[in-house]
């Protein structure tokens, strides 16, 4: 990553940390990571798509007051695993122009408080010009509300979208499973329910900071409406 997009000065932090956007607490599977992201409005998780997609499912199920712009062709999100919540609104975009239209709609929306999630924003961007258009819209929306993008990585393990996008994003977090670290993936801790996040870019913290995300072990993530068999056998906990 170019040093120019990795500033650590106090000025940079002051500019990007916007107090009005830090009100809604996000549940991301790791308390230190949630703390590190507080106050920043343009955050990106990227990595191998199956890994990022699994994390997107977790983010959708663990958070309320979110809206998702979902760029898709085939497959992707399994909505049947997320039917317990009707707090998340979703819109699907099947081509580049529709995606820009979705950004315009969010830009004109006067409702405050929700976080915008964008899944795979550069899927239909075939040219650098289209990538620039998407980044420009994302920057514009991030002025008004918190934007979290879930992006694919390129063959060189950089986020899709080009340098303009990488330098526009305030915080970049790389996601990976244990498989990428040379070991087999098992169930339980260190298995499919665990992801490893690495801060690639942060205005205040040193890059290469690692976090472990426990997707199903998060005490905040308690899905009471669709209990597992074990939950169902035990008396329901009311918080």
């Amino acid at each position: 990553m170019d040093r120019a997009v990795e500033p650590t000065s106090a000025w940079w932090v002051t500019v990007y940390r916007q107090p009005h956007q830090g009100k809604v607490e996000l549940r991301l599977g790791s308390a230190p990571l949630e703390e590190a992201l507080q106050g920043f409005s343009f955050i990106e998780f990227y990595g191998e798509w199956p890994t990022v997609l699994r994390y997107l499912h977790y983010t959708l199920s663990a958070n309320t007051d979110t809206r998702l712009i979902y760029v898709q062709l085939f497959g992707g999100i399994n909505p049947y695993t997320l039917t317990h919540s009707d707090a998340t609104l979703i819109v699907r975009c099947f081509d580049h122009n529709t995606l820009l239209e979705a950004f315009n709609r969010v830009g004109q929306d006067e409702q405050e408080g929700y976080t915008l999630l964008v899944a795979n924003p550069y899927l239909h961007a075939k040219t650098p010009r289209q990538q620039t258009e998407i980044t420009a819209h994302l920057r514009s929306v991030a002025q008004e509300r918190r934007v979290i993008t879930f992006n694919q990585e390129t063959k060189t393990h950089t986020p899709k979208g080009g340098y303009f996008h990488a330098s526009s994003v305030h915080i970049l977090i790389h996601l990976e499973t244990q498989r990428r670290r040379g070991r087999g993936v098992r169930r339980g801790i260190g298995g499919w329910d665990t992801l490893y996040a690495t801060l690639t870019k942060h205005p205040a913290k040193p890059s290469n900071t690692h976090y472990t995300l426990h997707l199903d072990k998060n005490p905040h993530h308690n899905n009471l409406k669709t209990p597992t068999l074990l939950n169902w056998l035990q008396p329901t906990r009311v918080e």
Binding site: P79, S85, D86, A102, R105
Partner: protein, 675 residues
């Protein structure tokens, strides 16, 4: 007198028409042709500047100077996406398509104007303005002017007498469709001209040069295009053939049949054959819809953005569903009738006025809610898609009637060509690149289809029948006592269902028995796999191995032989006995396969099967269809030659093929009891 075969715009202006009568071809010029450029200027003074372009047609009403000429080119058109407001656009008629495209590119690149109506291509739009399709039969008057000699909208038009030839290549394992390095050994050739019609079967490839002259002289040549190099080596000049059809996919449709289909699509959409031959079914379909929009003066934009409304995830789950599909109880069922809704999806689109501009239109006055969704449909004005489809539905109905009256095979093929357009029309409504598509319109159609079939299922139950299976637009009905349903009872049931659903139904098939094949991964049957004996004695096979092209001949032979035995049975008792005999036939094939002298006794082509991509055999896959064989060390391409088989794999395939036929539960199957 002849049929237009192709239309090519000339650099210096106008169009060259190629007219053929099966024997000779002539080229004639359509000098008065012009191509319209529709634009809305963003810069002041752009139109007067463009009016001085030397390639503008001077004979199209742009008279006067300055303001007068500017007014003459202005037209009022309706604006997308809702087409409730009008706007003024300039229409500039160019004589040269090259000049038009040059101006269009500049205007778009510099952002000087919004350009409209760029779809479909300009030649198609030219034929719209001429008023006859690009395959019309034309005569030449004394002044050199072309005039159509038949009604362009007629269904029973004379089939164009283009001469054609079809070339197919073969190797030891079957018809080869993909050429990489090894030449095929034999070829089949069929030549059809006005004077002669001959067929050559399994000729050696070396003899291809002897036919190069005949092939070069035809109007239409069909062959797998990856073999162009072989044809050139044989001495054929491919540039002399005006129209070539790529036959790279395994299809039983010959060039003669393909021409009937393409000509029908061309007459519906006014698209030249040359474009249709390379395009998907979406091109004639969208061109037909665009023709309707053009007639209403509705602007067609270069890109359409139809963003759906926000949905909650439970709403998404409900909306994003397909048609109703049951998982039937596996087993043999006797005296079953399959009822089918006639053109269900197109009829629903037409009846409910579903079109991109009518679904969720915020300006609509009279709307109707679609059951099971949050969408509304405007009912005040007819949408573009319903109007285009209603024309197709009417045309298909007339063709079907004419084909039945006259017993004409050509009319039947035309009817099927229109049917495919209707089938594709629904899918295209949800296709992201469709000019007249919208995902919400697509969701409306599937929701209405589910609602319609649910009503039908309830009505069947109320009438005292049992519903065995539902497959999107098809319902399998049986009497509760499993006795045959009489013709009167069937007519009464159909009338009841038509009243309840508002759609027409027909008897798709009357079965003596039908078997829903057991799915090896569940206790239920596969929804789209069944076979049955029709009352006429014929078999209807759906989803079985033997109807798939990826099935090796050895498995197909075994399954077809067993089906032939089962076909003789009519009653449950006969069926149970036939099942045991069919198993015997399978056993015979199995023991043949298990025999040690397999390589000597059997023919290796029985083990080859045709697949697309072939990722397991070829690293990176193949862009086309290739033949494979499963050997001891994995899959390999048949064109490398026969190198043995993995006997265990083919035995497994045989077992799987038998499982598809045997309706008995596994325990009963072990005991050898009846179905």
């Amino acid at each position: 007198m002849g049929w237009i075969l192709d239309a090519k715009p000339r650099k210096q202006g106008g169009v060259t028409l190629l007219i053929a009568d099966g024997q000779t071809r002539i080229e004639t010029s359509l000098a008065t042709a012009h191509f319209n450029l529709y634009l809305k200027p963003k810069l002041p003074g752009l139109i007067p500047h463009l009016l001085s372009h030397p390639d503008l047609d001077p004979n199209t009403g742009m008279v006067g100077e300055g303001g007068e000429a500017e007014e003459a080119v202005e037209e009022e058109w309706w604006v997308p996406p809702w087409y409730t407001e009008k706007t003024s656009v300039a229409r500039l008629p160019f004589t040269s398509i090259e000049s038009l495209q040059c101006v269009e590119r500049r205007l778009t690149a510099e952002g000087a104007a919004e350009v409209y109506n760029t779809y479909p291509d300009r030649v198609t739009q030219l034929f719209w303005s001429l008023g006859y399709p690009p395959t019309a039969k034309v005569g030449c008057a004394g002044d050199g002017k072309l005039t159509p000699v038949e009604d362009p909208s007629a269904e029973d038009y004379e089939q164009p007498g283009y001469s054609w030839a079809e070339l197919r290549f073969y190797d030891w394992y079957g018809e080869v469709l993909h050429y990489e390095w090894k030449k095929p050994t034999h070829f089949d050739l069929e030549v059809h001209t006005k004077d002669e019609h001959y067929t050559v079967r399994r000729e050696e490839l070396g003899a291809l040069g002897a036919y190069a002259r005949e092939m070069g002289g035809v109007d239409v040549l069909g062959y797998p295009k990856t073999y162009s190099r072989i044809l050139v080596e044989a001495g054929l000049n491919l540039y002399t053939v005006p129209l070539t059809l790529d036959r790279r996919t395994p299809t039983s449709e010959g060039v003669g049949e393909a021409l009937i289909r393409l000509v029908e699509w061309s007459r519906i959409s006014y698209t030249p054959l040359r474009l249709l031959a390379q395009a998907s079914i979406g091109m004639p379909l969208t061109a037909n819809e665009a023709h309707v929009a053009y007639g209403r003066r509705w602007l067609i934009t270069q890109t359409n953005t139809r963003l759906e409304d926000w949905k909650t995830i439970p709403q998404l789950v409900v909306h994003d569903r397909g048609g109703l599909l049951y998982r039937p109880k596996p087993g043999a069922h006797f005296n079953v009738v399959q009822l089918d809704f006639t053109s269900m999806y197109p009829t629903l689109i037409h009846k409910w006025n579903i079109s991109p501009e009518t679904v969720n239109n915020p300006h609509a006055q009279h709307t109707l809610g679609v059951p099971g969704t949050k969408h509304t449909v405007e009912m005040g004005r007819l949408g573009v898609v319903p109007e285009a489809l209603s024309r197709l539905l009417t045309r298909r109905e007339r063709l079907r009637r004419l084909a039945a009256e006259l017993g004409d095979g050509t009319l039947e093929l035309r009817q099927q060509a229109v049917k495919w357009l209707l089938v594709a029309s629904f899918g295209y409504l949800g296709f992201r690149n469709a000019k007249f598509g919208k995902i919400e319109a697509y969701e409306c159609v599937t929701a209405l289809a589910r609602e319609t079939v649910r009503r039908a299922v309830d009505a069947v139950g109320d009438a005292g029948y049992r519903v065995l299976h539902v497959m999107v637009d098809s319902v399998f009905v049986q009497r509760r006592d499993e006795a045959p349903i009489t013709a009167d009872e069937l007519n009464t049931l159909i009338r009841t269902l038509e009243q309840v659903t508002g759609l027409k139904l027909k008897v798709e098939a009357e079965y003596d028995w039908v078997v829903f094949s057991r799915n090896r991964h569940s206790t239920l049957a596969s929804p789209q796999r069944y076979y049955g004996r029709l009352a006429s004695g014929a078999l209807k096979l759906k989803g079985l191995e033997c109807v798939k092209r990826s099935c090796p001949q050895v498995v197909r032979d075994a399954q077809l032989e067993a089906l032939g035995i089962l076909r003789e049975a009519r009653t449950p008792k006969q069926f149970a006995a036939a099942l045991n005999r069919a198993w015997g036939a399978f056993e015979k094939h199995r023991s043949r396969l298990e025999s040690t002298r397999l390589d000597v006794d059997t023919q290796p082509h029985l083990f080859a099967f045709c697949v697309r991509g072939a990722r397991r055999a070829v690293p990176g896959g193949v862009d086309g269809y290739v033949w494979l064989i499963k050997g001891e060390e994995g899959y390999y391409q048949a064109e490398w030659g026969y190198m043995g088989i993995d006997r265990g794999h083919y035995l497994k395939l045989l077992d799987a093929a038998w499982e598809q036929l045997d309706p008995r539960p596994p325990l009963q199957r072990l005991r050898g009891e009846g179905g």
